[in-house]
């Protein structure tokens, strides 16, 4: 039986992690169908049909799908499930919110946040904030799987031409009403997909001082991250939080400034390709995962860092 991928989108475009989830789905079985649930979502539906790994697209539009509420999404997918062996989506806030609702309806034990497909019924997933890896075999007939997007490369986004089939809408769930979404707009790359992330911690001492992080991020074309301590202290908004309860990032370069490296923070960044830590406490746990550690006062080091960057002829973006 085929695998059903749930597309995440904003009605115009696919959200980037849909490509990572599609790639994970294709590792489970080459026969991947994708369902897109939205309103006036023809554009996003077309893009979904162009993913070469997707063999068939199922599309449904209705006003009550405009804001992607799990209570409205779940019945559509549950109805489709009989034709599929697996249901797959990303383990970001979209998939975390949605998939368990589907799994419970199907009486299936979900496998959350996998980082590797070992076989169609066996998966690797981090537990305890990534301090252990568990190999999990599912004995359920239908498998509900969310994938850690940063652990799977995005699939090709063009070249395919899957057939698009319209399906029927389910009844509206009237006890949940969408009010508003406040998206933080930024010209910067998204934290979850950025090639470089510059993060600040409690060592920044104030929200104002995060300007120093911003300058470096601008120079490097990087996204801005933060530790939970910095978020809790009110220096920066929560959508920047990296860690067990924030975002998991796997950039080519992660620069941790004034971050001590609590277990919960390391869980969100320690798979980064190259890690730099700047901290005045030489014993800080962040140094245990850093490829390059600099023991220094960040208020001296950051201006020097900018100066050195300015000396470079070229900076990769």
């Amino acid at each position: 039986m085929a695998v059903l991928l749930i597309a995440e989108h904003n009605n115009k475009e696919l959200r980037p992690f849909t490509l990572n989830a599609a790639s994970a789905a294709s590792q489970i079985d080459s026969d991947v169908h994708a369902v897109i649930i939205g309103q006036n979502s023809a554009e996003a539906t077309k893009k979904l049909s162009e993913l070469p790994v997707v063999k068939k697209v199922l599309s449904v539009e209705a006003a009550h799908y405009e804001n992607f509420t799990a209570e409205n999404y779940a019945p559509v997918i549950v109805k489709l499930a009989e034709n599929y062996s697996h249901i797959v989506c990303s383990a970001n806030t979209f998939g975390k919110n949605l998939m368990p609702r589907i799994a419970a309806h199907l009486d299936t034990s979900q496998v959350s946040d996998i980082i590797k497909v070992i076989s169609p019924d066996t998966f690797l997933r981090p537990i305890y904030a990534g301090n252990a890896f568990a190999t999990i075999k599912s004995n359920d007939a239908k498998k509900c799987v969310t994938i850690r997007p940063t652990s799977f490369d995005p699939c090709e986004s063009t070249g395919g031409s899957a057939q698009i089939e319209k399906i029927e809408a389910s009844e509206e769930f009237s006890n949940t009403k969408f009010i508003k979404r406040e998206e933080i707009k930024s010209d910067r790359p998204e934290l979850g997909t950025a090639r470089i992330v510059v993060s600040g911690g409690r060592g920044m001492q104030s929200g104002d001082n995060f300007k120093l992080i911003t300058e470096i991020a601008d120079k490097l074309g990087a996204a801005i991250g933060a530790s939970r301590a910095a978020v809790d202290a009110g220096y920066i908004s929560n959508d920047h939080q990296v860690g067990q309860t924030g975002k998991v990032v796997v950039p080519d370069l992660y620069i941790a400034i004034g971050i001590s490296g609590a277990i919960q923070h390391l869980a969100g960044m320690k798979e980064s390709k190259v890690i730099v830590a700047i901290n005045k406490d030489g014993e800080a746990p962040i140094f245990s995962v850093a490829d390059y550690g600099l023991e220094a006062d960040l208020f001296e080091a950051i201006p020097q860092f900018m100066e050195e960057l300015n000396k470079l002829n070229t900076i990769q973006k």
């Binding site: 806030t93 368990p100 305890y128 890896f133 890690i275 490829d291 020097q304």
Partner: protein
Amino acid sequence: MKILVAVKRVIDYNVQIRIKEDGSGVVTDNVKMSTNPPDDNAIEEAVKIKEAGKATEVVAITVGEEKAQETVRKALAVGADRGIHVKVDGILEPLAVSKILQKIVDKEKPDLVFMGKQAIDDDCNQTGQMLSALLNWPQATFASKIDVNDNKLEVTREIDEGLETIEINVPAIVTCDLRLNEPRYASLPNIMKAKKKPIEEIAASDLGVDISPRLKQLKVEEPPKRKAGIKVANVAELVQKLKNEAKVI
């Protein structure tokens, strides 16, 4: 309004976990255990709602072995009125826990069920959503702000793109984010008082639900270690290394 709050006993968030030599799991014997951190936020929020005169009773529930009762006792010490302990040995999957909670909801008929958004041991992030599916109730996950207005809740949710606000009708499930509030500490007199509050014990086997595992944990292992890094002497050396050795800038 009656609020049921589910709490889980987990290895304390400050403990560096150890993996059993035979790869069968994580060492929990003689390890400091605590309430799952966002479950503390769930209790705090329920107690605050009651203190604001918008709820009449807060009931704390846990599902687990004998010692899991400590988490209920702690909830009672910070303001929950009474407790329920569904006793079961061994590790339960979120699907099983949600089926047990569904039975308790049928019996207790709360208007709201709160719990943390995720347990920091298995990091599954499923139970609240599964329970709301089984009950066909609205779900407000990852809540960082809750306003109670009669029989409606306005909830602000932490999502990847920023914040989302939804309005849900009770009865409803809310899973709590760490930013929802600042959990209080229990005072000594309240800890003493909590010892007198009732905790009802129920055997999971008496609830008539299938809690058999569907997943098999084949192996638990250490994640690959990063190779040791180096300390650089100054910023110039750092930038030179990033440019010429790591080739990332």
